[in-house]
């Protein structure tokens, strides 16, 4: 009897369940605030307790890293849903997409979200990569995180490419066929690699099951492993790079503010705005789907996926050994090596390193904007070295000679920038980076909009 009197209140079964799930709500009001703090500490397992006030500025990070995370989760979510409907066999894949779009409730919407998020994430991670480079956020201690970031970028690129084949329409089939054809030109292991990836002599059912496994198991696992490593290194480096004006003395972190609500609120806003934009876009625009893949009929023109169009455009001008192997390898090595160059100064946090850096970057961008189209047009209409020097193999006329010319011109540009603007090597290397970046963007745009049937140069929408 006394025991009953001691018990304050008899709880209903629903209350007992509620308190078992949320034990804090049972406490008096004063303790509940403590409980709230406990709940916040869950967030603080992932985010720092305090952040420097200055790193919260949108003009530092543009929220790009956060956007990439949101897109990854969106892609995993919609991807898992698509797995329930999609059938990775050549005879069935295309029909399962049609079934998804016609008969499955919200099927088209889910595919649209997956498709547009996949395209957007490439743009977002590319912009993130540019942001990190141009704010100098690769100087020590962030060197290795730059390398991890490149790894993530590469993984996202491969995810896009392997996903490209899955609808098994004409666009997918032929884009992957020519990309697999590109592997053939890698000396030594090219043919072996091509056969391994295709699972046979041509793109077929083995290729589809390979790509499906890579796309839905290996690459997501890789992304989920690399992502926390990437974030952890940011935390280890003391958060984002501290933004500063040129010439400002380093080492002042400034005032720190609690991450809750300052940081978390901003992150949630970025995430929600991004989600809303993607949702609206996916309602308005359907992901493309062409007719079913036909191995006997190549469409005219056949183009690689848009993110490989820069390489495809290089292929129009250089011997495949250079455009598909040597130049990409050199670029990749240069990118990986960027943080390990011995720089004159640590320009972390300063946009474009310095006022001189800004000036030389503009000069480089203008040079590339003029030189690249001139080079493309000249090669298309006037220069025909292979015919002028008939007896010399195309590896030299179409490869080595133009390669050496461009290499020498770039080296000359570097020296010129250093002399004329009395630039530090930070600024001169940045100018080279901008030169190649703009040239690559123009090559990509040319491949995307200025190549018509038969891959002939033409004006778009004409």
């Amino acid at each position: 009897m006394t025991q009953h009197e001691v018990a304050p209140k008899k709880l209903s079964v629903f209350q007992r369940i509620r308190y078992s799930v949320f034990p804090g709500t049972q406490r008096p009001v004063k303790d509940q605030r403590g409980y709230r703090r406990f709940f916040n500490s869950l967030i603080l397992h992932f985010r720092p307790r305090t952040v420097p006030d200055r790193t919260l500025r949108l003009t530092l990070s543009w929220g790009l890293g956060g956007m990439a995370v949101v897109l990854i989760f969106l892609l995993i979510g919609t991807g898992v849903l698509l797995k329930f409907v999609y059938e990775p066999f050549p005879g069935k894949a295309y029909d399962s997409i049609l079934h998804l779009q016609r008969d499955v409730l919200f099927g088209q919407l889910i595919r649209n979200i997956h498709h547009w998020s996949a395209n957007l994430i490439l743009i977002v991670v590319f912009l993130h990569f540019l942001r990190v480079y141009f704010t100098g956020a690769f100087h020590p201690p962030r060197q290795f995180n730059w390398v991890i970031g490149l790894g993530l970028f590469f993984t996202v690129l491969l995810s896009n490419f392997t996903g490209y084949l899955l609808p098994w329409d004409q666009l997918a089939f032929w884009a992957v066929t020519i990309c697999a054809g590109m592997l053939e030109y890698i000396p030594g292991v090219g043919l072996w690699l091509q056969k391994l990836i295709q699972g046979g002599p041509a793109v077929g059912s083995a290729t589809l099951s390979n790509f499906y496994a890579i796309h839905t198991a290996i690459l997501p696992a890789l992304v989920i492993t690399l992502m926390p490593l990437h974030f952890w290194r940011v935390r280890k480096a003391g958060g984002l790079v501290i933004p500063g004006a040129p010439g400002e003395i380093k080492g002042t972190r400034g005032e720190s503010v609690p991450a809750i609500p300052n940081l978390i609120l901003r992150e949630v806003v970025v995430a929600l705005v991004l989600l809303a934009c993607i949702l609206v876009f996916s309602v308005l625009f359907n992901a493309p789907l062409e007719s079913k893949a036909n191995p006997g009929l190549s469409p005219n023109p056949t183009k690689a996926p848009w993110y490989f169009l820069g390489i495809q455009e290089m292929l129009m001008h250089f011997h495949p050994f250079f455009s598909l192997f040597l130049i990409p390898i050199l670029m990749m090595t240069a990118l990986l090596g960027l943080p390990y160059i011995d720089y004159n100064t640590d320009t972390g946090g300063v946009w474009f390193a310095s006022p001189t850096g800004r000036k030389t970057a503009v000069v480089a961008a203008l040079t590339a904007t003029v030189a690249t189209p001139v080079g493309i047009l000249a090669d298309e209409h006037f220069i025909d070295l292979a015919n002028w020097a008939d007896h010399i193999p195309p590896l030299i006329t179409n490869g080595l000679i133009p390669f050496v010319i461009i290499f020498a011109a770039s080296a000359g540009f570097y020296v010129l920038i250093k002399r004329k603007y009395a630039a530090t090597n930070n600024e001169a290397i940045q100018a080279l980076f901008v030169l190649f970046l703009v040239a690559f963007l123009i090559l990509t745009a040319t491949g995307m909009w200025f190549r018509g049937p038969g891959m002939k140069l033409m004006l778009p929408f004409y």
Partner: protein, 173 residues
């Protein structure tokens, strides 16, 4: 004296341990290599499927007289073109462009194979007329038994350029 001895003893014990550790690490690498080897062998396309289909790889094109001179006939099943040149010789050309693997259609108006992907062109013998294609179209082995033209599609023959010994002539002509 005894101190020194003990030190030496500890040192030898240490080096024995480090030796064992090295062995373990070495074994670990061997195991890793084995795993990679097994995974690669598992993933690499096997030959079994090809041999199972082997008896189907010889395609009977038909009697030699059926093909007019200077003509191109497409065989969808074998993925090749049977070409009869104006001197009566036969060639079986792969329909795969040697540049990046697109399917090359025969444009009878221009008397050329024109690749829709990067506009490489080949003449009726498969030789490169205009790049970027680096090599002439691959060929298959053609043989003529009792005036019936047969093509062995099991093995693609790669060639850098067209040569007259690639052509197969029917005996009676």
């Amino acid at each position: 004296m005894s101190d020194k001895k003990e030190n030496q003893h500890a040192l030898s014990r240490g080096s024995r341990r480090s030796f064992l550790v090295k062995i373990w690490i070495g074994l670990g690498f061997v195991a890793l290599l084995e795993f990679i080897g097994v995974a690669t062998a598992f993933l690499f396309p096997g030959k079994r499927r090809v041999t199972a289909d082997n008896f189907k790889t010889v395609i009977e094109a038909g009697p030699a007289d059926k093909f007019p001179l200077d003509s191109v006939t497409a065989f969808v099943r074998g993925k090749f073109y049977l070409v009869r040149l104006d001197d009566g010789g036969f060639l079986a050309l792969s329909r795969k462009c040697t540049h990046l693997g697109c399917t090359v259609p025969w444009v009878s108006k221009e008397k050329k194979f024109v690749c829709p992907c990067h506009s490489s062109t080949f003449d009726i013998r498969g030789a490169v007329v205009s790049p970027p294609a680096p090599r002439a179209l691959d060929i298959y082995h053609v043989f003529i038994e009792n005036t019936v033209v047969k093509v062995d599609t099991a093995k693609k023959i790669k060639r850098t350029e067209f040569r007259s010994e690639h052509i197969v002539y029917p005996e009676s002509v």
